[in-house]
Symmetry: C2
Subunit: 389 residues, 2 copies
């Protein structure tokens, strides 16, 4: 066995994440490693918290990145807020709602599901009916932007419903943060988690989270210890807390945090609302181009995620062959369908640094070429003309 250094090619990442990582962020990852208790590193952590508060639109003190991917951020929210025996209403309109249920049951709590159609936003009336039937529910959990389908749910209205029925909220913002409007404080979200590798355009591996005062109070009032030592927010707070003694908990992923810091500095430079607008504008361009190719959207225009475009694979076009062609001939990655959508749908990401016109031009050109090879009739020129409009 002799294994050499790994030299990856440069891909264009237009799948469901990771998205294209800006060269500034890659450069940040390679900066000299500091100790995780170094005063300069601790200062960087304070900036990171400020930047995350900006991105989440929150003043929540307990706002920080979990040292693991979005799935661990999900687990952090559930294991800290849910206790054995609790009842949690979980809205399921895709893969990630289902994963939330897994988290609930592994705590020894009960998940009451609100099953909604894939590709649709969570249905408010259905949720209210279930909350009405389960007055003892403690938490309402839902996915803001379903990465498996491309549907955006009305987080503001869902949080208002939760408050009406005296539930705390747990919100999955893995794909929404930085890509669409998201206002943690104004909407009254209690616990939220995201991922570094979607609209923040950082490398994968970190999960920003934020907890409201009500969530923190619930964590402090727990009857059972948090089942995870690694994800226990009481302990994590000892390391990340303001003015605290920076008690050692675990060794922070120093260089990965440099990358997240840089990605958030770039978000601040662009302006959060400008980033939302850029995603919307790029989506409009891509959508016009795809429709010109005869490729149609899974999700209705009113609840479509600009950053994740789920489209039906046209009849007679081979899913795997197209994706392999794009990768082999154009170094271009798009996403396959997940769960119920496997083999039927492509997921085309326009997240963060991927949401730019060069990528749209490449995608439309390459996709038209790949489909034409399979006898599908379409015109890249028409698509590009439509996209420019």
């Amino acid at each position: 066995m002799t294994i050499s250094s790994f030299m990856p090619p440069v891909r264009t990442l237009m799948g469901p994440g990771p998205s294209d990582v800006h060269p500034r962020i890659l450069a940040a990852l390679a900066r000299p490693t500091l100790g995780h208790l170094d005063p300069l590193f601790v200062g960087m952590m304070d900036e990171l918290k400020q930047l995350l508060k900006y991105a989440f639109n929150t003043e929540n003190e307990l706002t920080l990145p979990i040292s693991a991917p979005g799935s661990a951020g999900m687990e952090a929210c559930f294991v800290n807020l849910v206790e054995p025996g609790d009842k949690v209403v979980v809205c399921v309109n895709g893969v990630f709602g289902k994963r939330m249920c897994e988290n609930v049951t592994r705590i020894g709590a009960t998940a009451v599901t609100v099953d909604c159609a894939w590709g649709q936003p969570v249905d408010l009336a259905q949720v209210e009916t279930v909350l009405e039937q389960h007055r003892d529910a403690k938490i309402l959990a839902f996915v803001h932007a379903e990465t498996s389908t491309g549907a955006l749910s009305d987080a503001q209205a869902l949080c208002a419903l939760a408050k009406k029925y005296e539930c705390l909220t747990i919100v999955d913002a893995v794909t929404s943060l930085g890509g669409v409007e998201l206002r943690v404080d104004d909407w009254g979200i209690d616990a939220i988690y995201s991922g570094s590798q979607k609209c923040l355009s950082c490398t994968p591996g970190l999960s920003p989270v934020s907890f409201s005062d009500a969530a923190v109070a619930a964590i402090k009032a727990r009857k059972h210890p948090v089942q995870s030592w690694f994800l226990d927010m009481n302990l994590i707070l000892g390391y990340w807390g303001e003015g605290g003694k920076r008690a050692y908990h675990h060794t922070a992923p120093v260089n990965a945090l440099y990358g997240l810091h840089e990605s958030l500095v770039m978000l601040q430079e662009e302006g959060l609302e400008n980033a939302w607008q850029r995603h919307a504008a790029m989506h409009a361009s891509l959508a016009a181009g795809l429709e010109a190719l005869g490729v149609h959207f899974v999700v209705d225009a009113g609840s479509r995620l600009p950053q994740l475009n789920s489209v039906y694979i046209p009849d007679g076009v081979d899913d795997a062959k197209v994706r392999q062609y794009l990768l082999a001939e154009h170094n271009l990655e798009i996403g396959a369908g997940l769960g119920d959508f496997a083999g039927k749908v492509w997921r085309i990401g326009l997240m963060g640094y991927s949401a730019r016109s060069e990528n749209i031009t490449l995608l439309l050109t390459a996709l038209a070429e790949a489909m034409t090879q399979q006898g599908y009739v379409c015109s890249a020129e028409d698509a590009l003309a439509a996209a420019i409009k």
Copy 2:
């Protein structure tokens, strides 16, 4: 609020980890991000598994990096092998043995502790007495290299004891992997976890783990689901398993894995046994230099970790002032004492890329200077002369 890019200085890291990261590894972190299901990335994952098997001296199929720091690797071993109601014998001779107990109790299992003196290896006779008293114990857990004290325990003998009493073993190798002899298969270790940021000299954030066939069988025979979704090895195996369908579980920390791959390629180039010998030789040099400064070791020579040197702070020398001076004047980090050793002990790391003679020269020179400033009488020249021997 306007926050700028973070530009860390270049430090020399001689604390308990993170250790100095080789420029080749920093460069690897900045390579272009691939999708986590990209065939080229999957190929890199297969190499990573092979390289980890080499580092652990194992043929265990279930050998891979957990996508989170060493504490999560610890939790992965415990939540997969321990079920509610189980009895686990935990050897405690420092901070990390205590943390193991926390993991056991949060599962709803019972931890029977073998309390040993800090700075000493785990006492075999004590362990046998406890195993004799608790014939229903399912697992023996211990720390191979206690990062909080610098003591090395006899993992081979402890595993033999465990087998005699029909226990599985969980071994903390966070600080030992790559720094001292470690033979997972020959010694009969069932579950082991390590960290990327110690003797592998990679950045922090990943935890290599390995499970024996007996451990895998125990995981498959569980009566209760694993309480953590993120750390459930049954699910993780679906993504990392050979010849499997590479089922999506969570998004792998792509660039961090490039770094780990590069660090293991470098370990393979040097040769594992050569790396152990380098750590031993550098330790001998440092130890001679420190003794010449009148700085004495906490741990007896026979069970000292070469890669983590715990030494008593000489009388009249201020702990914090010395560490601040080293950092401010020499960009040199050493570690403070942890737990019972806070304020009494320094921890000087010689891990991975930090274990080289330039670092020893810097440490001895800078430490002599810092202590002299406080009226302590010592000679850097004598220390350097002793170190060269």
